[in-house]
Every structure is written in C-alpha cells, then in structure tokens.
C-alpha cells in the first residue's frame, strides 16, 4: 500500500516537472535572429585592460564618446569598440540620413507654399517642368551629395545594374537545372565572356554606325560563341536549350484553360518555334502584301494541322478552345465560381449561335428595317436567356460585366455601306 502511495506521488511529481519544464515563460526574451555578433577587432581603446582579470566595467562606453562631426572618425570609433560591420553600416546610414534629412526638410519647406500654384500651372503633370524648379534642383543636388557621402563613408555599394545582372545570371542558372552542373557553369562562363566581348564591341562604336569590318567582327564573335557552345553541349542538349529558351517557350504560362503535359508542351513548342521561323522568313521576303497574307494564313493552317496530329482529339479541342479569346472571357468567370470548363464551352456555343443568327438577320434583305430590328431584339433577348440558363443568374450577371459587352451590340443593325464605306 505504501509503495503504491510513493509510486503515485512519484508519477505526480514527474507530471509536475514536465509541466514546469515545458510551460511558456512569460518573461521570455524577444530573440534576435542571431546572438550578439563580434567583429574582427584589431585594436581596442587603450583604456580597456588587455587581459581582464576583473568583471567587465558597465557601461563599457558612453555613446557621446563615439560621436564625431567627422563621419569617418565616427565610423572608426564604432569599429574600435567592436561594433560589427553591418551594424556600423546601419548606424552610419541612419546618421547620414538624419543629417541630410534636416537639409531635405529645409528645401521642401521653401517649396511648400508653391504646391497649389504648381498644380494650377499644371506642372505636376509635366515631367520636364518639375525638375526645373529651384527646389527640385536643390533637392537633386542634395540627393547626389548624400549618395557621395554614403560612398565615402561606407564604400561603394554594388551598383543596381550589377545586382540586376547577378539576378539574371542566377535566374538563368536555375532554369538550366536540367543540364549537368559542370556544363551549366561552363555555359554561363561562355555567355559572360560573350557579353563582355559584345559590350567592348558596342563601346568601340558608341552611337556611330558600325563599319563593314565592325559588322564582320560582330558576326565573328557570334560565330565563335556558337562554336564554343556547340563543342560544349551534345546535340540533344543544344536542341533542348534552344527549345526552352526560345521566345515561344512560355506559351503555356499565358494560356489559361489548357494545362499541357511535358510531352505536349515539347511537341507544341517545337511546332510554334518552326512557325515563328517560317513567319520571320516570310516577313523578310519581297512579295506583295496580299501574297504575304495568303502565305501567312497557309502557315497557320499548317500549324493547326500539325498540332492536331500532335495531340489527341480531345486535347486538341481543349487547346483550340483555350486559344479562343471569347472562351477565355467565359472561362475566367466560370473559374471564379468554380464551375466546370464544360459550362464555359457550352456558353461559348450559345454566344456563337447568337452571333451567327444576328449576322443572318442583318443579311436578310427580305426583312423591312422594322422587322429586322425586331428580329435582332428577339435574338438578343434569347441569347441573354440562354446564357443565363447555362451559367446561372449570378454568374451571368458577372459575365455581363467581365466580357459580356458584345451582348449590348447584338441587336444593332450594322451600318449601311455606301460605296464600300461604312456610314
């Protein structure tokens, strides 16, 4: 019995200890991302003992011992007490901003009374007018002076252009994860070198038109790069790179309502790439405009036929629908209400039926103008009813606002044509 009691007490104590250990501490400190940082510190103020046997003095320094009118001295004082470099930057930036902030406020105060006068003159809308004002010139000079001071005290920051280039490089690197790491690095290095050569070439001509030799040099640079890339990549890798980085590669991102598989994307991108090349060739040819249009139409027909071959019948139908702007407008709205894609397809059919009917009525010369108008009004009414039935009242009402404008002009008699010109 005694053992049972002791056991029960022991279990209770365990529970209490667990609760005490894991209970939230109301006095928990707000933790910074990193513990206190220590900068490399070559020298400390001589006042501090080099081998302290005793507890450290508190406070270790007073802030006014750091302060100096000379910003570089201020910075060095911070470094001397072991302030880590990023914190030195933060502090010096704040101090510089405070100094320049006061001057900025003075400049703005001089302009304050003229605000509504500048609005009256319409100068806020004129890009070129504002920079010509006295205060704007003073402010622009102050901004430049502040940047120079920041650079003097804290060193040059990486330029925005360089940051952009770096981001582009990283983005390109990530998009090439399908390539082996070593080839990725070598390709990036080839591209950097090419860019460098191109920049030097462009700088040599400035704004002048390149000479024949200059043009030849550019072509040589391009060829050298193409050869080096060819030597680096296998033919399959080259083909994949060309496909993924071509101008037409991103089509799926802009085609809501069609989600291609990898194979479908590959087939259609190859076709789109070929179509684009054929269109470019056509544009460069010296033939009549009519002939160009006819050949352009033929290229599109060929593309559609090839796409039909590449996809299953269902998928091709979906692909075609997704490319239809009228369907896209309907699809956007049906998606918003979580309706299936088939509802958008049905509504599209209703729209096309109504528009075909309107064309027939307008073309019917047996109808008097009054009867024609009455028939168009009825067609419009029926189209509204049909769409409302397919989409539901609420979805239809939203569709009227987002893409349903065509309904309003469905009952309009087309303008009569006199000598081929619309009245």
């Amino acid at each position: 019995m005694k053992l049972r009691l002791i056991f029960a007490l022991s279990v209770a104590l365990n529970a209490a200890l667990v609760a005490a250990i894991f209970a939230p501490d109301k006095k928990m400190p707000v933790v910074r991302h990193e513990p206190a940082a220590v900068a490399a510190q070559p020298e400390l103020p001589s006042a501090l003992p080099s081998n302290p046997p005793a507890p450290a003095p508190w406070p270790p320094f007073r802030w006014n011992e750091m302060v100096s009118d000379d910003l570089k001295t201020y910075r060095e004082n911070l470094r001397a007490v072991g302030c880590p470099e990023p914190t030195v930057h933060e502090i010096m930036q704040a101090i510089i901003n405070e100094k320049f902030g006061a001057r900025r406020r003075e400049i703005l105060a001089t302009a304050e009374d003229s605000y509504w006068d500048i609005v009256r003159r319409g100068d806020l809308a004129k890009r070129q007018a504002l920079p010509q004002t006295g205060w704007a010139k003073a402010l622009t000079a102050l901004i430049a002076e502040r940047e120079q001071t920041l650079a003097d005290v804290l060193g040059e920051e990486t330029s925005v252009a360089e940051q952009k280039r770096q981001a582009q490089r990283e983005q390109r690197e990530r998009s090439r994860e399908w390539l082996p790491v070593d080839k990725r690095a070598q390709l990036a290095s080839l591209e950097d070198s090419r860019d460098q050569h191109f920049a030097e070439w462009a700088a040599a001509f400035g704004s002048r038109v390149p000479t024949v030799e200059g043009q030849a040099r550019l072509e040589q640079l391009q060829q050298e790069f193409a050869d080096a890339r060819k030597a680096l990549l296998t033919p399959e890798e080259q083909e994949e790179l060309q496909l993924r980085e071509s101008d037409v590669a991103d089509w799926a991102a802009n085609l809501p309502g069609f989600s291609p598989s990898e194979d479908e994307w590959r087939s259609l991108t190859t076709l789109r790439f070929q179509l684009e090349q054929a269109q470019n060739d056509l544009a460069a040819r010296t033939i009549s405009e009519d002939e160009k249009q006819a050949q352009q139409a033929q290229l599109q027909v060929n593309f559609d036929a090839a796409a039909q071959q590449a996809l299953s019948p269902d998928r091709f139908a979906q692909y075609q629908l997704a490319n239809n702007e009228q369907y896209q407008a309907l699809h956007n709205v049906t998606q918003r209400y979580g309706l299936p894609d088939s509802v958008a397809a049905q509504a599209l059919q209703a729209r096309q039926d109504a528009q075909n009917m309107a064309t027939q009525i307008s073309a019917n010369s047996d109808l008097s103008p009054e009867n024609q108008q009455a028939a168009l009004n009825l067609n419009q009414q029926q189209a509204r009813q049909a769409l409302s039935q397919i989409l539901g009242d609420e979805t239809f009402s939203t569709y009227e606002k987002y893409g349903g404008d065509w309904l309003n002009s469905l009952n309009q008699v087309p303008a009569k044509k006199i000598y081929g010109i619309e009245e």
Binding site: V30, P35, A253
Partner: protein, 409 residues
C-alpha cells in the same frame, strides 16, 4: 512489470526531470549583461568574416556587452550607454528589417516551361501571401519593442520621384513615413484581394475592398491631424485634374481657388477610391461633370469661366505656349486663338455655301486667309513667321490644296 521496478523507474525519471528543470530553464535577461554572457564567443552571420588565421582576441569587446540576442536587452543596453533614442529606434528597425529581408528572401519562382498559367498564378499568390504575413509579423515585432509600426523607409524617401516628394512634403518626415507605410499596406492588401478574385470582383470582394478602404481612412485619420488629413486627401485628389486633362492656362485663378475646385472634383470621382467603385455609366459621368462645371463656374464667376473653358482647348494651349516661348503677352495668344476659332467658323460657312461657285468659294477662302494672316501678324509682330512655321499651320489649311493649285493655274 512489478510495482517496485516501476517505482525505481519513476524515481529515476524524477531525478532526471529535476536536473533538466534546474539547468535548462532560460534565465531572465539581466539589466546588464553578465560576464559569462559577455565571454560567450558567438558569431553572427552578419558579422564580417574573421580570417581563420586571425585569433579572436581574448580581451572584452565593448560592443559585445551592448549587443544581445534579446532585442529588449539590446535596446536597454543601447539606452544605458546613452545612445540617442532616435538612433536606438533606427538601429533596431534596421536590424529587424535585415532579419526579415533574409527571412523573406523568397525561394525563386522557378517553373518548368510546361507548367500552366493557373498553377503559376497559385504559387505566386501563395508566395505573395507569405510575404504579406511576414511583413505584418515584422511590424508587430517592431511595435512590441518600440511602440510604433516603423519601417526603414530612408531608401524609399530618398528614391521617391520629385512629384511624390513634393506631394508629401507638407508632412513631417515621420508622418510622411507612416503615410507611405499605410499606403503600401493598403495597396498590397487591395492587390491581394483582386488577385485572389482573379480580377473578377464579386460583391463579396467589393465589400472587402470597401472595408479595407474605410480601415485605411481611419488609420490615416489616426495618424494625421484634421488639417493634415484634408491636405493629404486634396493632394491625392489633384490627380483628377491630370486624369481629366483639366487646365488653368491663362485663367486668372488663385491657388486657393484651384484647391477648392479640386475638392469639388471628388463628387465626380474620388481618386483615392480608384479601382474600388464600379465606374459610373457614361450618362452618370456626364451629369456629374455638369454639376462639377457648375461648381467651377460658381467659384470663378461667369467671365473667368469663359477663360477656363478656353483653357481646356489644346489649340489655345498651343498658341499660349508659343506666345510664352516668344515672350509675348498672354493677351496676344487669346487674340490669335479667338481669330483662329472665328476664321474656322467662317471657312466652314464658305465651304458649305451652295450659292457660291467653286471659284468664288476659293477666292473667298483666299481672302479670309490673308485677313487672318494680317491679324496674326498684328498680334505676334516679328514672331509671326515662327508661328506660321510651327503652331500656325492651321492658316495653310483654310484654303484646301486643290483650291490653291486650281486658283494658281
């Protein structure tokens, strides 16, 4: 298992847990750092890298006594060394900004080229929601430490375009910063509502936007005094003039009257609510514009309203611009503009006059043009030739080319 064995096990647990309890509890941050905390050799990822060959000095680093992993302690220590309060705030805000910039460093949006639009949009929305949440968390942390929702806005203030700088220039920097912060929060949240709705706004979305807008106005009212709030709202509203191509060129109007007119324009369209309200119908807009023009007329009076109406014509503004560039009085521009209007009307009448033969019409138009030229010369003097070759092209259009060639043959 027998009870004695269980008891031994349980007692062993008592001992182990007691040790954990006594040793592992975090200590309350002291007012001044303890020597053991000072001596702890810790390195931040922010700290400048220490070369391997450089031995870390054994001396006490004064700054290490200040800096702490606990923000409250860090603030207290900075205050204890008499760091100015504004600088304490700047240091802490910059530090927290840096922390959250690293945390918000988004995993890059990298898609396979076959990933569909919907999937990309979903991923982008999730990321944007995560960033918004992090920002809110950051502001809440700053508020809990410093009592204000401050952000490091120096870069924003210094890189603002001139127009925005000027527009907020009437506010003290701290208030301007708060307004910028509120505007950003408001715009981000509104954008998120629109994105979540795929830009197809249903009633529920409109309600969300409406409530967001009201919250924004309340927050602004909490930050600014009534006069500042009114000025801020009017300055935001002046975009109405730009959006509707409204001009006051050569209208004798005071800047106070312009401010008043901008105030009226809210009844046509509240620019702060742009994108929130459904746009009015064409008829509705026309009727609001009529009411607005009536208010403008009541401010300016009938005579100046004529000037105001004239200022809305691009032809007049072009003429005035020429006059100003040529250092001519505005009155000369008014005369030439009125001449242009009258001449245009007369030319139309001549062209439509079926009682005249073609030759008579041509002759009348030539006469009209030479009279107009004479008047332009009288208004612009020596600058007349410059005018004819620039804004004065309308004079050549009085007489159609075929008429000119027919009459000269």
């Amino acid at each position: 298992m027998k009870l004695p064995r269980l008891l031994i096990l349980s007692v062993a647990c008592n001992v182990a847990l007691a040790i954990v309890f006594l040793t592992a509890r975090p200590k309350t941050a002291p007012n001044s750092p303890s020597p053991s905390a000072i001596a702890a050799p810790v390195v931040s990822k922010k700290a400048a890298p220490v070369p391997a060959a450089t031995p870390i000095p054994t001396t006490i680093v004064p700054w290490r006594q200040i800096e702490s992993a606990d923000y409250r302690q860090y603030i207290a220590s900075l205050r204890a060394v008499d760091c100015p309060e504004w600088l304490v705030r700047q240091i802490i805000v910059a530090d927290i900004d840096d922390l959250y910039r690293q945390r918000a460093q988004p995993e890059p949006l990298q898609f396979n080229p076959w990933q569909a639009a919907e999937e990309r949009s979903r991923v982008a929305r999730n990321r944007s929601a995560r960033l918004t949440a992090l920002r809110q968390e950051k502001l809440a942390l700053v508020k809990s430490l410093l009592g204000c929702e401050c952000e490091n806005i120096a870069d924003k203030i210094w890189s603002q375009d001139l127009s925005s700088t000027f527009t907020l220039g009437f506010l003290p920097d701290e208030k301007a910063a708060r307004v910028l912060l509120l505007e950003n929060q408001f715009a981000d949240t509104a954008q998120k509502i629109r994105e979540d709705a795929h830009f197809i706004l249903l009633d529920e979305d409109q309600k969300k936007l409406q409530s967001l807008y009201e919250g924004f106005q309340t927050a602004l009212a909490g930050e600014l005094d009534p006069a500042q709030l009114e000025e801020f709202q009017l300055r935001a509203q002046q975009r109405f003039l730009i959006a509707n191509d409204i001009h006051f060129d050569a209208v004798p109007v005071t800047s106070g009257e312009v401010r008043e007119i901008v105030g009226f324009s809210k009844s046509v369209k509240d620019m702060a609510r742009e994108g929130f309200d459904e746009p009015p119908s064409e008829a509705g807009l026309a009727s609001r514009m009529d009411a607005f023009n009536a208010q403008v007329k009541s401010v300016l009076g009938a005579a100046r309203f004529v000037d105001y109406e004239r200022a809305q014509h691009i032809d007049f503004r072009e003429t005035l611009d020429f006059a100003q560039r040529s250092h001519l009085p505005p009155d000369a521009a008014v005369r030439v503009y009125e001449l242009r209007e009258n001449t245009g009307r007369q030319a139309a009448e001549i062209r439509d006059d079926t009682n005249m033969s073609a030759e008579e019409r041509a002759a009348a138009l030539v006469l009209l043009r030479s009279a107009a030229m004479k008047n332009v010369a009288s208004a612009f003097g020596d600058n007349c030739q410059d005018y004819l070759s620039s804004s004065g092209q309308w004079l050549n259009e009085i007489v159609p080319m075929q008429t000119v060639s027919a009459s000269t043959q």
